[in-house]
């Protein structure tokens, strides 16, 4: 039986970050997840925590998928693009490779997708 709001839990967790030792906070969060019957929604909870990190601390973690490795200059441009799109102050990028994109890149956060890939542009031409 579900008894609590996942987003409320994420909001509280992020608000307490830095005020208590992280292992203790994680243990408390795990207890609360089990108590509220949210264990099956752990992935979604992590997404909610990311959202709250952005909203409360201005911290954003995004995945950047490219066909080929990117240089630092381009990565910085992507960071600026994400800062503009989300209002984040600090952006951390995790990179991944997908050759089917042909070129360009796709930047993803749990709630946003910026598609600058050649594959996407070609699919538009099909129409």
């Amino acid at each position: 039986m579900r008894r609590g709001s996942r987003r409320q839990l994420a909001r509280t967790f992020v608000a307490l970050l830095g005020r208590h030792p992280l292992p203790r906070l994680i243990q408390a969060l795990a207890d609360e997840v089990r108590r509220c019957g949210l264990a099956a929604e752990t992935d979604l909870l992590l997404n909610d925590i990311q959202h709250e990190l952005l909203a409360q601390k201005g911290y954003l973690e995004a995945e950047v998928v490219t066909a080929r490795p990117l240089g630092e200059a381009v990565m910085n441009q992507v960071k600026r693009l994400l800062e503009d799109a989300t209002g984040a102050k600090t952006v951390r990028l995790n990179t991944a490779r997908d050759e089917s994109l042909l070129g360009g890149l796709v930047a993803r956060t749990p709630e946003l997708e910026i598609d600058l890939s050649v594959k996407k542009q070609l699919s538009r031409l099909e129409v």
Partner: protein, 510 residues
Amino acid sequence: MDISVQQLSSELRGAIEQLKTGPDVQKVGLVTRVGDGIAWIYGLRDCGFGEMVEIDGPGGSVSAFALQLLEDEIGVVLLGDERRITAGAKVRLTGQILEVPVGPELVGRVVDPLGRPLDGRGPLQAASTSPIERAAPDVISRQSVNTPLATGIMAIDAMIPIGRGQRELIIGDRQTGKTAIAIDTIINQQRQNSGVISIYVAIGQKMSKVARIVDRLRQEGALEHTIVVATSAADPASLQYLAPYSGTAMGEYFRDNGKDALIVYDDLSKHAWAYRQMSLLLRRPPGREAYPGDVFYLHSRLLERSAKLSEAGGGGSLTALPVIETQGGDVSAYIPTNVISITDGQIYLETDLFYQGIRPAISVGLSVSRVGGAAQQPAVKKIAGALRLDLAQFRELAAFAQFSTDLDAETKKRIERGRRLTEVLKQAQYSPMGTAEQVAVLLAATSGAFDSVPVEQMKDAQEALLGRLHAQHAKVLAEIDQSGRLSDQQRQDLLSAGRQVAQEFSQERS
């Protein structure tokens, strides 16, 4: 060759410039659960109520609209096959609400609530679209109902008149002739060449019934002035829920362009059932009869869109004939009382009358038109007063009819008059009558001219009278139809014809 390379160059460069778009930023979410025509979405925090989303499933893209916005998730109602999507599918926010094609191109077509053709006559060529949910016209842009909408059914046009822009409920048990009244009204618009565009919205009906109606409208030539929006009982609840709103958007196009439109919702009981099903699946709290708390608003916001616009607004109108099916004649159930209170009157059909052979089975005592009197043709209005009075007296005295031998002459006369009027008001399906014909028949019956005609021969006498009038007084009929008024001379002409016919029938008897 009429082409300038310089012009071509600038146009080509302009077109290429337009292709350069900014980064493709999309709000995305994730399907967490799907089933029963409903999907639950994680993310899309900016999603608005009723907003469209696109779900990219392994089997293709499915459209849906948001109807439940909770803190942790969003409930959306699917407009396509739920088997094409799975949990984990990506969901995109479109930033739009649902729109359907509107315009004259739809007239004569059979479409589904999304405006997709169902009649096999090729794609629609509609130039415009309109959102299915729109605010109703405000007070300033309206005017009072002042133009009649003739149904061609004598009992309605005389006693429960409907005006253009009115909302008149047709209510009754199953198999009492509710749809027949609506279809006759649509056919009458074509017969009288009224210029009214009709929209028939079938909600969760049997497809065989819809096919029969379309076929009949085609035979009568009325389909050329009609749009049919059809959903069957096999369609998802989402489509049944959308059907009346889509039909209304199509009708509003004509209303807003200074024309007159008529919309039939057949029926809103099934619409409420579809909404109840969706609401329960979306885990909204159930209320009375398990309907959600906003089921009144479901119908009130729909029917408020039917209106007569002011002259400044073009003077167009949208008249609504919602249909409600009652169970066991119970008009005090939740949905019937809601719609009765929303509409401007109701035509109540009784099972008992239907099986007594009184068809249309209209209960004169329980039926009412709250605003249509102002729009009634003066010629009919003149006679309708006597008709109502005679029938009211007959209803009071009918219970004593079996003691006829002990009754005084005046009471007997009233009962006999009532029996004849009841006969006259019987009318076969698909045989709507013009204003002048109605005036002639009602005048003969209410003035006492037909009192000598045997009750069982009243319909024959009526036919004979109309035949005589068309043969000898066609000009008088045409004038009454044209003006909607009845002069003293015309009254005398009609009465004299009525008396002659009555005399022939009473001589036959003797």
